[in-house]
């Protein structure tokens, strides 16, 4: 399996993506913005198809559109009482725009399928370097952002009272989510980013009592699902994205049942 270069690149690329989706997914859940993460990938679809139509790399179009949408949601989000409505409308408008671009773009249907469902085996050396750069950039931003992000996620009112700009934090964070989404699309495709971005984080956040353990577990599960998905695809010849989403779903359900059982035992055991 590892003797083939495209397999080595696939493992490296998905590993890089898993390293950044872990912490970002964790904070998306902590901030109750999982839907925003999901929407940004869909918004990117219009950018990717538009870029393809113009003969530019779809990754660049995807990144620009997701970034713009992320910043926009960050700016107007706190003002809106019901964020989901705004996000949903932006999402559907972008998908509609993507469909229009697709209507004019009649060549290379395979490229669009890769965009929608991912094709990790098609990642080349150049894309691998782009992903590595994106990952380093995201970790660099998170190095500065984590403390105020955590404070504003857990105690927004107090954070604001201490002089933190909730809007600024929201804009930077959602911009970061857009970058990670663009990276994640390379592995899972636009339609299945939720599985790698939110699935592992959901297991971690429901099972860990501390933030660092939660983020670490989120990264580990993301790695397990990404690499497990590629390995299973190798042995079965089924799509990688299917396996990743299947693993994500199975691990979430199993952990959910396990945690519920453990909590039930803990609650029903006699107190000391």
């Amino acid at each position: 399996m590892f003797s083939l270069e495209f397999m080595r690149i696939a493992f490296m690329a998905s590993g890089i993506v898993a390293l950044i989706t872990g912490p970002i997914g964790y904070f998306l859940l902590l901030r109750r913005e999982a839907f925003a993460g999901h929407a940004l990938s869909h918004v990117g679809f219009a950018g990717a198809t538009g870029a393809s139509l113009m003969g530019i790399s779809p990754l660049i179009g995807l990144l620009i559109f997701s970034l713009m949408a992320g910043i926009l949601i960050g700016i107007i989000g706190p003002e809106l009482k019901n964020k989901d409505i705004a996000i949903g409308l932006v999402l559907s408008a972008s998908m509609g725009l993507g469909l229009l671009f697709l209507h004019f773009y009649t060549r290379y249907a395979a490229q669009i399928t890769s965009l929608l469902f991912g094709n990790i085996f098609a990642v080349d050396q150049k894309t691998l370097y782009s992903l590595a750069f994106l990952s380093i950039f995201c970790y660099g931003v998170m190095f500065f952002l984590t403390r105020p992000l955590l404070f504003s996620s857990l105690q927004p009112d107090l954070a604001e009272a201490k002089g933190l700009s909730l809007k600024l934090i929201s804009v930077i964070f959602l911009g970061l989510v857009a970058c990670v989404t663009a990276a994640c699309v390379q592995v899972t495709g636009i339609l299945l980013t939720f599985s790698l971005m939110i699935g592992p984080a959901a297991v971690a956040i429901h099972s860990c009592k501390t933030i660092y353990k939660g983020i670490l577990l989120s990264i580990l599960f993301a790695l397990l699902e990404a690499w497990g998905g590629i390995a299973l695809a190798w042995f079965t010849d089924w799509p990688v994205s299917f396996w990743i989403s299947f693993l994500s779903f199975s691990i979430y359900i199993s952990s959910f049942l396990l945690i519920k059982t453990l909590v039930w035992f803990e609650m029903s055991s006699p107190q000391n």
């Binding site: 105020p148 009272a161 009592k209």
Partner: protein, 251 residues
């Protein structure tokens, strides 16, 4: 130096005038109950003191400084909001606030940890802090939030409706803790509430807010039928028993 000084202060929320021509002085080590019905402007006034809502007109000094500069001396407990903390422990929740407004990674040094321990000890909340926040009752959460407000050694503590959704037993327990802390640390306390009764034996003064106006004074001087009827521009009867106070409309 007074803790809070307002001179001809106007406060707006968006385009709506909430408080107009407010003049008051709050001295050191005082326990003030901020009283008013829901929507009267208690939270807006508190948010202005914290520098979240800008002053529209007039002057507001907190410890002789502008609100944004004085916030470092204030321990603030905002109105309860439903936040999903998943399995995070109370200690993790509290730790997130340590220098939380500065960019960087949320690591704690020894001094931070000992300050957290000291605040938790003072409220006998050390054991509570090790439990996931979602497993704690409203009263237990308030105890932790009170501990958090003490971590940075404030000179003033502001609590916005800390007793909403608390049963009388927890209300009394939290109130006693606040009073003890105030005495021990020589703090000033501002506590906003729509029910003044639990505070009656404790507070020094009451700040009554309503109808874009506010009046400050002792309970005996402010909580009277004539003052409240004048403030709310509606005939109100204030009935006092030995331990309770009832404000009822006079029809």
């Amino acid at each position: 130096m007074n803790v809070i000084e307002c001179h001809d202060l106007d406060i707006k929320r968006g385009s709506k005038l909430i408080l107009s021509q407010l003049n008051l002085e709050i001295g050191k080590n005082q326990f003030i109950g901020i009283f008013g019905p829901n929507g009267s402007g208690k939270t807006t006034f508190i948010k202005t003191i914290m520098g979240i809502i800008p002053i529209h007109q007039g002057q507001l000094n907190v410890f002789g400084l502008s609100p944004s500069k004085a916030r470092q001396f204030i321990g603030y407990i905002p109105q309860a909001r439903d936040i999903n903390t998943f399995r995070l422990t109370g200690r993790n929740f509290l730790s997130a606030g340590i220098r939380g407004y500065k960019f960087g990674l949320p690591f704690l040094n020894k001094q931070d940890s000992s300050r957290i321990d000291e605040a938790l000890d003072q409220l006998q909340a050390k054991k509570l802090a090790e439990k996931p926040l979602e497993e704690l009752s409203g009263g237990q959460r308030q105890r932790l939030l009170l501990a958090q407000a003490l971590i940075e050694n404030p000179k003033l503590i502001i609590l916005d409706e800390p007793f909403s959704n608390l049963d009388p037993k927890w209300t009394l327990s939290i109130l006693n803790s606040i009073k003890t802390i105030q005495r021990q640390r020589s703090l000033s306390v501002l506590l906003a509430t729509h029910d003044l009764n639990p505070l009656l034996p404790i507070i020094d003064y009451v700040l009554c807010i309503g109808n874009k106006r506010a009046v400050l004074g002792t309970i005996d001087s402010i909580m009277t039928s004539s003052v409240l009827s004048d403030l709310y521009e509606f005939p109100l009867n204030v009935i006092r028993t030995k331990e309770n106070l009832f404000v009822i409309p006079s029809f």
